[in-house]
């Protein structure tokens, strides 16, 4: 198992390399050098060259890519716009995005999976059908619209919560987190419901009932363990949508996280920042994927048997 884990983490390195190479190739199509993009038009060429030199924009396209890799290894990559080390800037922004993402993800996972199980167990009940209707409705409402309505209702009209920024401490998290949670729950709960129903319709559930197991035991032990495979896969998709969604959410609530950093970097053709942010977000996603595989291996005897060989 530990050998497998090491293998998986080593496999991430070439994958991440390809991801940033891909991003770099796309970004290299953008016209202009950092100095032209960031300094006033009238700046003399000498100053411009010095600026480019300072932020590491020298040499060929390939040379710059390897320069970036070198910088990445030594922890010193400069931003094209500010000329500062990216990692100091990221250090200030990463905790916010992580907190926002993890908080939203845990709440959404808990509520979404919980409601899905409830729906499946009470199939055809009033609760089930109303949850289904609500889920379809909310799956269709764009996140930025929900954010706007929440801002309008809780911030602008009532002044209960701040509508943007991070100045108000924990209160600042409420609206962004609620938006992310509300937009992720519908998919999670509906897919959990079908995974759970699928498990509950299996023959071994009938066997468990015929054995005299209580309904609780049937649901929580026999069905849920089997349904956990699709549910975990689903949570991974949920995580991806929260990572992607945080870009939009941070920009709506003007939060100083990685999302806004990335967005301004994309607009400002700030290639090193774009690459580093993509690297971080993709790495988070890949680690989640490895964790998922580990979970599968732990719970599924068939998968485990394959690794023991």
């Amino acid at each position: 198992m530990s050998r497998y884990l090491i293998k998986r983490f080593l496999y991430m390195i070439p994958m991440l390399f390809l991801v940033i190479l891909f991003v770099y190739l796309i970004m290299s199509f953008t016209p202009g050098d950092p100095a032209t993009n960031n300094l006033p038009l009238t700046t003399p060429q000498q100053v411009k060259d010095a600026y480019n030199e300072r932020v590491g924009y020298t040499g060929t396209v390939a040379g710059r890519f390897f320069g970036y890799l070198k910088g990445l290894a030594s922890g010193n990559v400069l931003s094209y716009t500010s000329g500062e080390n990216i990692f100091t800037e990221l250090g200030k922004r990463l905790p916010l995005t992580l907190r926002l993402g993890l908080l939203s993800f845990s709440i959404a996972a808990l509520l979404g999976v919980g409601l899905g199980i409830l729906s499946a167990v009470k199939q055809y009940s009033f609760l089930d059908s109303s949850l289904t209707v609500i889920a379809v409705l909310f799956a269709s409402i764009p996140s930025f619209f929900i954010a706007g309505v929440l801002q309008l209702y809780f911030a602008v009209n009532r002044g209960l919560l701040p509508s943007f920024g991070m100045e108000a401490g924990w209160k600042s998290y409420i609206l962004p987190v609620s938006t992310l949670v509300v937009t992720s729950i519908p998919v999670l709960s509906r897919m959990t419901r079908s995974a759970m129903l699928n498990a509950l319709n299996q023959d071994y559930i009938r066997t468990a009932r015929a054995k005299g197991c209580s309904e609780k035991r049937v649901i929580w032990k026999h069905a849920l363990k089997n349904a956990s495979f699709p549910i975990i896969t689903l949570l991974l998709t949920g995580l991806a949508s929260i990572i992607g969604g945080s870009v939009i959410i941070e920009s709506i609530f003007t939060l100083p996280g990685i999302g806004t950093y990335l967005l301004t970097a994309i607009n400002g053709k700030n290639t090193p920042v774009v690459m580093t942010c993509t690297l971080i977000l993709s790495a988070v996603f890949m680690i989640a994927m490895v964790l998922m595989d580990v979970f599968f291996a732990l719970i599924d005897p068939k998968v485990r048997a394959r690794y023991q060989k």
Partner: protein, 290 residues
């Protein structure tokens, strides 16, 4: 009875059966009705409102509340919101449907190659592994930054961003069909290559792909509106719903309808497609657990 007419008869009776089941589903019918309104707006918008109203500024009628003359009011530049929302249908729904179609076709081609050749499958799947590690909205943002925001670029961007997911989905369906006995039988009797794909594999894999594609249309529309909302998508003065919502947001104290109406338009369009997708899934496979 010749072979083709018999085939046709089987197809049409299956179609009738699916249509009958679909018609029994109230939510699916609501989705279809909503979508027919959308289709009407796309095809006949110029019969209802002249196209020049979309960008016609009226300095005397800024921020007029919804009334008989301006059904949905006017915006901060005095443009008629009803005209803009109506014409915006073409943009958002067009992007959603267009991008889905392109990535559907690309995905189907790639997945068919995967299903036929093990070597190609390995290479394609590794590329997809890399591609699907980048959140698709990020990919879209990157590409839009280079291409610039307009309708065609949006379609290109969104279809490329979602082609990874599409290929994986279609490939899974195809591989399960390839394992079926009738495909093995066809292979044994000498059918191969493209003919095998078109005659035996794709037709039998169509149902789940169709449902997945329908659902994708709605997520594409939401992404398109979202990208325009953060200023990366279709640029003003095009009446894109997400962009309209963004510019309307500034006035939400005095004119909340500027935010609510485009938002509701996106939601209704996405809802109609979602309902149709749900209905299709249930009608195509009544035994499946919903």
């Amino acid at each position: 009875m010749s072979r083709t007419t018999k085939d046709k008869k089987i197809v049409s009776s299956r179609f009738a059966e699916v249509a009958r089941r679909y018609a029994r589903n109230k939510a699916a019918i609501i989705g279809l009705i909503l979508f027919s309104f959308i289709l009407f707006a796309i095809l006949f918008a110029n019969l209802v409102v002249p196209p020049e109203n979309v960008t016609a500024y009226d300095a005397h009628n800024k921020l007029v509340k919804p009334c008989a003359e301006h059904w949905f009011g006017t915006d901060n530049l005095g443009r008629d919101v009803f005209a803009r929302v109506l014409y915006g249908t073409r943009i958002t729904v067009g992007i959603g449907v267009g991008a889905t179609l392109i990535s559907l076709i690309l995905g189907a081609i790639l997945a068919s190659i995967c299903a036929l050749s093990k070597k190609a499958d390995f290479v394609i799947m590794r590329i997809i592994d890399v591609g699907s590690c980048i959140p698709s909205i990020l990919l879209a943002l990157l590409m839009l930054a280079i291409l610039g925001g307009n309708v065609v670029n949006m379609i290109i961007t969104l279809s490329i961003a979602s082609v990874f997911g599409f290929t994986t989905q279609i490939r899974a369906v195809l591989l399960s069909v390839v394992e079926e006995d009738y495909v093995k039988a066809a292979r044994l009797s000498g059918t191969s290559g493209i003919k095998l794909v078109f005659r035996h594999i794709l037709p039998n894999a169509l149902d789940p792909i169709l449902v997945y594609a329908t659902m994708t249309v709605s997520s594409m529309m939401l992404s398109a509106a979202g990208l325009s909302f953060i200023g990366m998508g279709v640029a003003p003065p095009s009446p894109e719903w997400g962009a309209m919502l963004f510019y309307g947001q500034k006035y939400f104290k005095t004119a909340p309808y500027l935010e609510i109406i485009p938002g509701a338009a996106v939601a209704l369009a996405a809802l109609s497609v979602n309902l149709i997708g749900d209905g299709l899934r249930d009608a195509l496979d009544p035994k499946a657990i919903q």
